[in-house]
Subunit: 340 residues, 6 copies
Amino acid sequence: MVFPFTAIVGQEQMKLGLSLNVIDPSIGGLLIKGEKGTGKSTAVRSLAELLPEISVSRGCAFNCDPSSTSLCSNCSERLSADGALEGEKRRMRVVELPLGITEDRLVGALDIEHALKRGEKRFEPGILADANRNFLYVDEVNLLEDHIIDLLLDSAAMGWSTVEREGVSFSHPARFILVGTMNPEEGDLRPQLLDRFGLCVCVHSIRDRNMRVEILKRRSRFDADPEGFLQFVQSEQNSLSEEIIRARENLPNVEIPDAILTRIVEITTEIHVDGHRSDIVMLRAARALAAFRGQERIEPEDIGDIVALALNHRLKRTPFEDVESGRKKLDELLDGLAGH
Amino acid sequence: MVFPFTAIVGQEQMKLGLSLNVIDPSIGGLLIKGEKGTGKSTAVRSLAELLPEISVSRGCAFNCDPSSTSLCSNCSERLSADGALEGEKRRMRVVELPLGITEDRLVGALDIEHALKRGEKRFEPGILADANRNFLYVDEVNLLEDHIIDLLLDSAAMGWSTVEREGVSFSHPARFILVGTMNPEEGDLRPQLLDRFGLCVCVHSIRDRNMRVEILKRRSRFDADPEGFLQFVQSEQNSLSEEIIRARENLPNVEIPDAILTRIVEITTEIHVDGHRSDIVMLRAARALAAFRGQERIEPEDIGDIVALALNHRLKRTPFEDVESGRKKLDELLDGLAGH
Amino acid sequence: MVFPFTAIVGQEQMKLGLSLNVIDPSIGGLLIKGEKGTGKSTAVRSLAELLPEISVSRGCAFNCDPSSTSLCSNCSERLSADGALEGEKRRMRVVELPLGITEDRLVGALDIEHALKRGEKRFEPGILADANRNFLYVDEVNLLEDHIIDLLLDSAAMGWSTVEREGVSFSHPARFILVGTMNPEEGDLRPQLLDRFGLCVCVHSIRDRNMRVEILKRRSRFDADPEGFLQFVQSEQNSLSEEIIRARENLPNVEIPDAILTRIVEITTEIHVDGHRSDIVMLRAARALAAFRGQERIEPEDIGDIVALALNHRLKRTPFEDVESGRKKLDELLDGLAGH
Amino acid sequence: MVFPFTAIVGQEQMKLGLSLNVIDPSIGGLLIKGEKGTGKSTAVRSLAELLPEISVSRGCAFNCDPSSTSLCSNCSERLSADGALEGEKRRMRVVELPLGITEDRLVGALDIEHALKRGEKRFEPGILADANRNFLYVDEVNLLEDHIIDLLLDSAAMGWSTVEREGVSFSHPARFILVGTMNPEEGDLRPQLLDRFGLCVCVHSIRDRNMRVEILKRRSRFDADPEGFLQFVQSEQNSLSEEIIRARENLPNVEIPDAILTRIVEITTEIHVDGHRSDIVMLRAARALAAFRGQERIEPEDIGDIVALALNHRLKRTPFEDVESGRKKLDELLDGLAGH
Amino acid sequence: MVFPFTAIVGQEQMKLGLSLNVIDPSIGGLLIKGEKGTGKSTAVRSLAELLPEISVSRGCAFNCDPSSTSLCSNCSERLSADGALEGEKRRMRVVELPLGITEDRLVGALDIEHALKRGEKRFEPGILADANRNFLYVDEVNLLEDHIIDLLLDSAAMGWSTVEREGVSFSHPARFILVGTMNPEEGDLRPQLLDRFGLCVCVHSIRDRNMRVEILKRRSRFDADPEGFLQFVQSEQNSLSEEIIRARENLPNVEIPDAILTRIVEITTEIHVDGHRSDIVMLRAARALAAFRGQERIEPEDIGDIVALALNHRLKRTPFEDVESGRKKLDELLDGLAGH
Amino acid sequence: MVFPFTAIVGQEQMKLGLSLNVIDPSIGGLLIKGEKGTGKSTAVRSLAELLPEISVSRGCAFNCDPSSTSLCSNCSERLSADGALEGEKRRMRVVELPLGITEDRLVGALDIEHALKRGEKRFEPGILADANRNFLYVDEVNLLEDHIIDLLLDSAAMGWSTVEREGVSFSHPARFILVGTMNPEEGDLRPQLLDRFGLCVCVHSIRDRNMRVEILKRRSRFDADPEGFLQFVQSEQNSLSEEIIRARENLPNVEIPDAILTRIVEITTEIHVDGHRSDIVMLRAARALAAFRGQERIEPEDIGDIVALALNHRLKRTPFEDVESGRKKLDELLDGLAGH
């Protein structure tokens, strides 16, 4: 049993970053930088508890969406044979990527046993199969081997995984929300890789004594009687879950005013971010936030509220260690730009 | 035959740290830092001799608790088939983790021989299976490979191990008391890993001549006639064993006054410990100590008596090499805070 | 679905470099140096969408050209048996080379399963087989292992791959357009390897605000309705495709005036480029450009327009980071030489 | 044929250290530090020639003692089946540990061939099986891999080896006398490991001309006629062998006066040796020496005669390179202490 | 199709070094040092086009000479069975050694498949078998692994390769002309290995404008119509081929005047070359040159013309980077010596 | 065909060192230090041509001496079965140890094929089997892996190799003459290993012009007509061979005067050589030289003539690079000592 998401004290940016990714997975995941013991992994695991159910092609090991045309090789065959795919409901979940994982475990491999017994080649799904349409959680992402992290980010970017082994080719959708954590004291990611995480948040332990006592109180209450504690926060959990579901549905209808596009470009050109990915991520995150808030269109405040999340890891040579101060700097920027 | 726990001269903090973990395994284990030849491994091995028996699901290789709902895949199946699990008594024991262990030996693997002969996949338990509800002892923990130590600490944190190999998934509870030793002269653990040990103690050889003569006397008496020596200390061994059993039973009933929570947070905010794990560990250790002492509630002295154990390895940049002086510094802190 | 090539804003040199290679693959590929997020991989993938179809020997895994005498071992046998090869149309495509690829996956290997079952040795094609007469795209080419990059560049130079495994020898044409990308912040290629890419371009993110807003607008329009967006640019896509096809046909007929040869040598001797590859590459690229522009012969302006592409990575010790300034310097050179 | 032990000229400390370990193996072995060519390996090999016979359980690959209750898994089974174990006599011997040994060769492994043929798992003994109740000789112990040396020292400390491989568990006693040699010019052992050798001796080549001529004379006589030379020293060999056997029998009867315990602790506290192992080793070595000398109790001179052997490798930061000078320093210490 | 050898502009030393080795393979190969793009590999490949045919034992995988007594194990057996070996004509060719080659691929290995199927051990030839009596071309020889380069140079020195695998021993002649290339910017060979190449040449790109235009002109003519170009130079190709064949035949008849021996030793003692290999190589190269020129005896000018080739890589600590200047220095030396 | 031993010009110390080892293999081999191209490997290979025949147990793969009691496991069995071993004559030969050799190839291994087919374990001899009673030649001995060189020197020291693999134990004599070469520019051996070579010689290229011309003349005569050249030197070859055979027979009868022992010790104590191996080696080498010279006893001049060979590699920190100067220094020493 995991400590409930809505009972987590503070850490609002981290919770926002996770929620926005659930609403629009094309934002591209979240990198959580922070010292030890700040509840990074608890937050991700507990979010999974209130994630909506998704409709999945019955029996599919790759969590294919029966209403999509982007299907794994098995479902594609079944669809052309039967004309339609039957669905079943599954909870979204958090799939963990173990350190030291091999490429075969990640992308799947041939089922040797099946091949030897039946004389036919069969594909054995890897972790990317489990992760399709779910969270993929990578603790200490900076300790992963380079070729694994590249495979991961490529799949995340393409939304698709193709494996070829001994003449067998198998493809399946791989649209997961990548959440990585890292302790910045233990070496950084290459800028190349940093940039491919949609959002980034820096977490710190809370220094406020009252909040700390509250954290300890909630934790000890949860330890003593986990089920009672869960009932206590159930309504909060439910309403957050519903807000997320509603936001996912409304996302395509959120309007994008031209002034918003201009504002985004003003910000990123002002602060000399490399490349164009920041523009697109800001646009998507602001749109998801607008949907989350139930708005019909993106407002300038939405930009202000996601700018740190989108730019934390893309600012050049001014490491944004302290989110608060970074936020202030960006707010000044926004004010300045607004004043034109 | 091992030198008896109660006949160990001195080293009170180490003995306390081990005992508290037996009373409440959720404290999260003990890291013993110390120079060579200070009896670290003897202490752990000898504690196992007086540990209480536990009730285990008959024949289960994973030491499942027949009264729990947290069961291995085999016991879960048996429970739903038979409606109940039969129990048997086993002694708790100390499972050692060899250096250079592979991931397969740690978490278990497929039984290839069985697969080839019978044509069915069967899971072969690893060391984490043996360790469930026992001590897991890792000598020179700083020499373990990173991915093994991560696996270990993850299992310790989750209390659960899940293995997937070639399409077979097997889960079992893995709630063990992790005891690691290390010689601080041979390199330190990363802070990330240090923090995940619940308690930490620094041991030194005893400089007092009379105590040293006593140690040598006891040892030579034990060498000459181990069984006679054991009879000599049997009653002490028994009473410690009973105290521990009683403390385990009373643990859930120990009250946690609000003033205790506040005091814990005062300490950790005063000394700037990273993260929130120290708060929770202090609370659990103090509660276990209160139960050990037969109290109804945690008293401020309990905090004072476990503060060094909980913070030794979490203090920033002021290495607490000398437990005594560290203790004094923390006592001042506590006095100062109490004086408000 | 990929963002369409003709809708890419700016990055003219990169688009030119890719197009010239499609017109004359003997130019030797393109190396794209640039910071993260500048759309390097999008450009290559989207070019593939409008590439012309090619005629391929029916069922050949190596994409053999049925009208050529340069054939894989299978097609050679079939040709001598049947007297002619049947053709089929296939689209050109972009084959990706994964980081961490093995030599066996690259050049092909024996089909062990087939050998065990049928008792005969059969060759299983590798990525070089897929790549024949297509693009071979290598992201972060500077991270490839040395022996892989050597194999790659050797095959590219020879246009041919020969594999020998356990007494079986298999050959097939391997004429692909090699496109590599690299982030210059992450270490450079050895000069030995740099020189073997025909052309090189340095890309940067666009700083002009209006262009950036335009990029963001197009991208968000494409995200919202990819198919609508594609229809919108279809005619532009078609006409570029036709221009390329026409240029390929006219290539052998473009005249090479002697003055052009002299001019090329003047440039390369003036700036002390090592080796003779630059002369030949400039000649081929200028001829491809002349064909692209529908000219009957190479004009001095064609030289001016490809000189940066051909020399960017061959200039000694004056790294040409900024294409624009590099271009200017070379233009001065050309003017000076023209003034003789 | 090996040069006889009693004909070795000089090197008295090395010969004493070996003999004491034969008398009481719980002393914990001997580390011989010394330059090349000082006869380290000859001494160990030649000692084996005059070692007493031991009684071994008939046919046991692990040299089990039929009169002990500490038995290998096979002998345990046979004992409960037959009620008693038959014995046979074997000579003690020197088992060598090759550099580059694998863990499987050291601790034993499954007999794969037997498993494939008979369908049952059988344990194939490793070098630790051979070594039980014998010498285990490790040349250049500082070049062993860390995990092998750890396995070795753990088995030496526990007197027991347990192997688990694919579900088969096998245990056997492993009480061997570990003798390691090292050239101090080629890097040292970690203090952690140094401390786990019971005794340590530093050997040097002999500088005295007469002794050197004597060595050369004996050697050339032995080379010319090994068997004649052996007959010549046979009586000396026999009487040493008998002295050792008698000492082993009398060992449990040697008295340990309290004043001896105090003296030991005075020495080790005076010179700040880490840990308590030195106290116990000194006590055991002094007792073995007393038994060797046929005394009824340990005398202060016995302490004086083994103090260098026990402390050579445990002195902090004052490397005891020259045994003679070290001996003098310790003698002063002993005199000083005695003067109190 | 390869650019023809005789149409290569300049690079006379490289062409001479290759030709002399074809005339007398015991010279010991050629090392070509030079920057990228100087046509090193084209020269070697194109030489193969005009190499003479050789007579080979029919069907022999090792290119055995049917008129020699130095035969592979198979031919030896056949010769003693049949009394004579039938010959067939084969063209000499250039065998390439891939980087990252394994020892098994180089020297050959057992044919496992044959062993499993037929129950007999059969030897599968390696690259040294192909290379016998041909060129063995190693691009970037300084990147080869040490044990491979040692195997290679040993076989080159012995002219013979013997392989023993699982009780089967197989021998065959391995007299190949080793040609290695290296870019001196990427690290040097160990002097030990340098010395074992018979000759060495340093190549540079040509700076002369007219020659560069000529190179470009020839290349573009060859690109446009390879077959036409080849016909154009066919007579030159033929006459070079004939000169080489005639020189091979006359080689044993070239006289070696004593004054030539003295002159060689004067040169090598004057410039302090290590070892005696330089003397022998100079003698052989001068004799091959005399034969190439159709002379009856070696003349002093022959020495002058090969001295740089033979000593380039053997001069101590005065790296001979610029062939021209090195040549001059050696010429002075020769003049000086001649003046005695 | 190899250049004949007696036709080698100069290099007297190397030739003497090899010859003495043939006369008395217990001297312990020869280490040849020298720059490239000084004919190190030619000398060893050519000596093999004139080595005497030895009597070998018929069909024995280990070259067992049928008149010895030191036999391989097979011959031991045959001897006890048949009562005697039949002999056959074989030439002594030079066995080469390839770089990168595995332990299995060196000491032998189980014959897996035989085991699978016949169901019985059989030992497949390694290179040490071939080497028994022959030369074992290791080119660039300083590049061997440490565990291989240790195995080698241990076998050389013990004269015996024992292999245990999966329960099969096989022993055979391994008395070979170890000859190692090394280029001192490429790193040295550890002193530990240096000391275990009996003798050591430093070779240089010859600077004398007349000798160089003579070398070149002989070599070119040999190249032109190897068989004629061999006939020319046949009588010299024969008489050297006979001298060696006679010396081997007389070796046990050479007297060792006491004054010789004293003189040896005077030398080694005077110059502070570590260990006692140098004394024994000097004695053995001087005795072999006396036998070679046909003397009845060792004379002081014999000591003088082998002192450099025995001490070259054992002198402390005064590297004896130049044999001549080293010889002089030692001669002074001898004179000085003689003057006492």
